[in-house]
């Protein structure tokens, strides 16, 4: 095997230093593309995060922003201009298609953003030109990107946007090579730009066997290695990522030694892994929130007593215990506890007597009919929607509420929920970048005209909440922002806008002979700095 990898490294024109071992990883899906700009998929980010770097990154296993291709940055007093000082001496990868003649500089940053922002850019429409994450998170807020000098770039915003650096750490805003793009354009093959990646990261693509295996080789001249940053240095001979869609099969592959790291096993397989002498179950915090929403377009849910009754009738402790297989924790806060800005709120107290009384006061002493929606797919915030819905249904039956469980295939579910069809909706979200504002903003705010934000499926529009969220989004002082988010969550909690399901930890299966692997809370779990004994 070593011989094969070494031969591959020579073919790719790499001088491989003394690395040891091959890191095999079982991934849950295939990368959709090899240009991060074109995707919003987490699995794709896991692969591309090893190849490309962004201007900033999320700290390993944490939620703070740290420098990457930008060495430092400053924010203007009005909060509208972010000036990034770029790292010098960063080399681009050499591949079969491309031999770089220069190092990374501001032209690459300009190219990366021009491609997405400028409709007339020769690369704008290449391979469909859908920049889904940029389009949804930054396009509306960005005024311009300007090159100040070869190693300084300024991002100007239309209005202050506190989560800006967090958004810049997102996996889809990684920097691509302008020189490589020019060469491919001149050769008349720009479409290859998104298929044959050239990055600055610790690993580079050796081969992708469609839907089967991604093979990465170490990029010895990566800036992390050259500048002595261990966590950005490749320390294995190769990474082989095997695509295995089924969670039970990924566990079996880990048990058989075929994969040293397996992503996202079934929660129910935990005992099997714990019994194994060769494997560890590594627990990763998940930055996601799952909840039930009440449809504020419907009269019955506009009465706070109905919402209170339904919330206090749910026995959340056993529900979370069962649904998250013992890996969950009960909370009443929208922002997950792992995050700065999370409020210390308990779940609504389980009190069926009080619930019955509230329901009677609201005029439903003879019972209430509701539709309860259940997410049809396993999500990090809700591994088993059906089970959760059944448990809620049973709890509600005790206070005379007859809940009909409704579910649709995932695409249809999202579409109908967004059209406010869900009476009591089950929904949730995963944080894409380390800023607590994302889920409260996307799922619980409305615009000035009173139109709910796209994921606000319950159409809850609360002026105080919106005002506080807006205020927190316009300042950069993290402590002050955290305080405001705690206040906002309290408003949501007191108004019974939704019922939080609590949060869960996610698991990874890691072989005992793998050292230095830290699962990411946001975005990509890095394979640099990881060793295999």
């Amino acid at each position: 095997m070593k011989k094969m990898i070494a031969a591959g490294a020579m073919m790719a024109g790499l001088a491989t230093p003394a690395f040891a071992g091959t890191l095999t990883v079982c991934l849950e899906g295939a990368p959709e593309t090899f240009n991060p700009q074109l995707t919003s998929s987490g699995t794709t980010s896991t692969v591309l995060g090893q190849i490309y770097d962004g201007l900033v990154a999320v700290e390993r296993g944490g939620s703070q922003i740290e420098p990457a291709l930008a060495q430092s940055w400053t924010v203007s007093e009005d909060g509208l201009t972010y000036t990034f000082k770029l790292r010098q001496g960063v080399k681009w990868q050499t591949t079969a298609d491309f031999t770089p003649t220069r190092e990374f500089n501001a032209d690459d940053v300009m190219f990366t953003f021009d491609r997405m922002t400028d409709d007339a850019h020769p690369y704008h429409s290449v391979n469909g030109g859908n920049y889904i994450t940029f389009g949804t998170k930054l396009a509306g807020a960005l005024e311009s990107v300007e090159k100040i000098d070869d190693y300084t770039v300024a991002f100007k915003l239309k209005a202050p946007l506190a989560p800006f650096t967090g958004i810049m750490a997102h996996g889809s805003l990684k920097i691509t090579s302008a020189e490589y793009a020019e060469q491919l354009l001149a050769a008349g093959t720009p479409e290859l730009f998104d298929r044959n990646p050239v990055g600055t990261g610790p690993f580079q693509l050796q081969a992708y066997q469609t839907d089967a295996v991604v093979r990465l080789l170490p990029f010895a001249q990566t800036w992390g290695a050259e500048q002595g940053i261990a966590q950005n240095t490749p320390m294995v001979d190769a990474i082989i990522m095997a695509i295995s869609a089924d969670a039970s099969v990924r566990v079996q592959r880990a048990l058989a030694g075929e994969c040293l790291i397996s992503f996202y096993p079934n929660l129910a397989d935990a005992p099997l892994i714990e019994q194994s002498e060769a494997l560890d179950l590594v627990v990763a915090q998940v930055a996601s929130s799952g909840f039930l929403t009440f449809n504020f377009n419907m009269e019955k849910f506009q009465d706070i007593r109905v919402r209170q009754a339904l919330a206090h009738a749910i026995n959340m402790e056993p529900l979370v215990e069962v649904v998250f297989n013992g890996m969950g924790h009960v909370t009443g806060a929208v922002v997950p506890p792992a995050f700065w800005g999370s409020a210390d709120l308990p779940a609504y107290e389980y009190d069926p007597e009080k619930a019955k009384q509230l329901l009677a006061e609201a005029g439903y002493a003879d019972g209430l009919e509701v539709q309860l929606w259940a997410v049809p797919v396993a999500r990090p915030y809700m591994p088993n929607g059906r089970r959760a819905a059944e448990m809620v249904q049973a709890d509600w039956a005790e206070i005379g509420v007859n809940a009909e469980i409704v579910t649709y295939e995932w695409a249809e579910y999202i579409q109908r929920a967004r059209a406010f069809e869900a009476e009591v909706g089950m929904f949730g979200g995963i944080y894409d970048f380390p800023d607590p504002s994302q889920i409260p903003n996307n799922y619980f705010t409305c615009d000035a005209a009173g139109t709910p934000s796209p994921s606000n499926i319950g159409a809850w529009c609360n002026e105080d909440f919106i005002a506080i969220m807006a205020e927190a989004g316009a300042i950069t002082d993290q402590d002050k922002r955290a305080e405001l988010y705690v206040q906002a969550q309290q408003i949501l909690y007191d108004d019974y806008a939704g019922v939080m399901f609590g949060g869960a930890d996610q698991q990874m299966v890691v072989a005992k002979n793998v050292d230095g692997f830290v699962p990411a809370i946001f975005g990509t779990s890095r394979m640099s700095g990881v060793t295999v004994d």
Binding site: M4, I132, I414
Partner: protein
Amino acid sequence: MIRFLLRKLLVIVPTFIGISIVAFGFVRILPGDPVMLMAGERGLTAERHAELLAQFGFDRPIWVQYLDFVARIFQGDIGSSLVTKKPVLQEFAVLFPATLELALCAILLAALIGIPLGVLAAAKRGSWFDQLSMGVALTGYSMPIFWWGLLLIIFFSGTLGWTPVSGRISLMYYFPDSTGFMLIDSLLSGQKGAFASALHHLILPSIVLATIPMAVLARQTRSAMLEVLSEDYVRTARAKGLNPWRVVSLHAFRNALIPIVTTLGLQIGGLLTGAILTETIFSWPGIGKWMVDSISRRDYPVVQGGLMMIAIIVMAVNLIVDMLYALINPRIRHR
């Protein structure tokens, strides 16, 4: 024979038109759209959503999109994936050999076991062998594939360690694709142990995929044989004192072949499209899993183009089966 072939080819034209409408329309009837799924729970403003749909050209009237689809088929272009941005034909060409390799191994296994089992069961009608083998066949036919596959993995790969868990070859082997057929490519690579590894990886998925066709073939063979064995000429042959096995294998079996070949042909069509669960369990990079993933992502060009390709292949298999009938039974080609 040529007239027979022409007649068959003529039927293909309306079939093709029908399939193009179904392939185009089926995925478009489903609620949800690719942009919405790419955004997931995160949400997208209505304006942004409309803008992205327009970029894909999905804002045009549906019939314009259909005509565009058909026109491009005639130019040999069935579109590019919305997700991977690669031409559908290129993705199909990469993934199809994996499906075909698995399907051929499975059908071979199914035929080699299922047909003799059916013949023997018919010859020994009512015996314990007949009852046992048909009982096993019925169990195989009703087996939930996902459960069966996992069971085999847990037992043979997990407990006994005899077979690999999944994949087409050990991750430690790497060589570029030449034909896309792992058994051939591993031989061509010249790497020691590669062929054995590829063969080893085929065992469990072939068994799982062959289970249902094997059961169907065994039962079909048995009933076809029973019918033929009750014919007068078989009785005559027996009365003449011919070796009973010669009667079964030569006189009866050859005449029972038509329904068996029909079943075999239908099973091949089914295997090409029905390997979805097997491909998912065994991380087998074929077209079944590719199509299902594309449906759930509403990757319209892949679903539409993929369906067209599969339909064309199934039509070709059916044509070959029809021609085989004509070879087996000359009366058919003169009908």
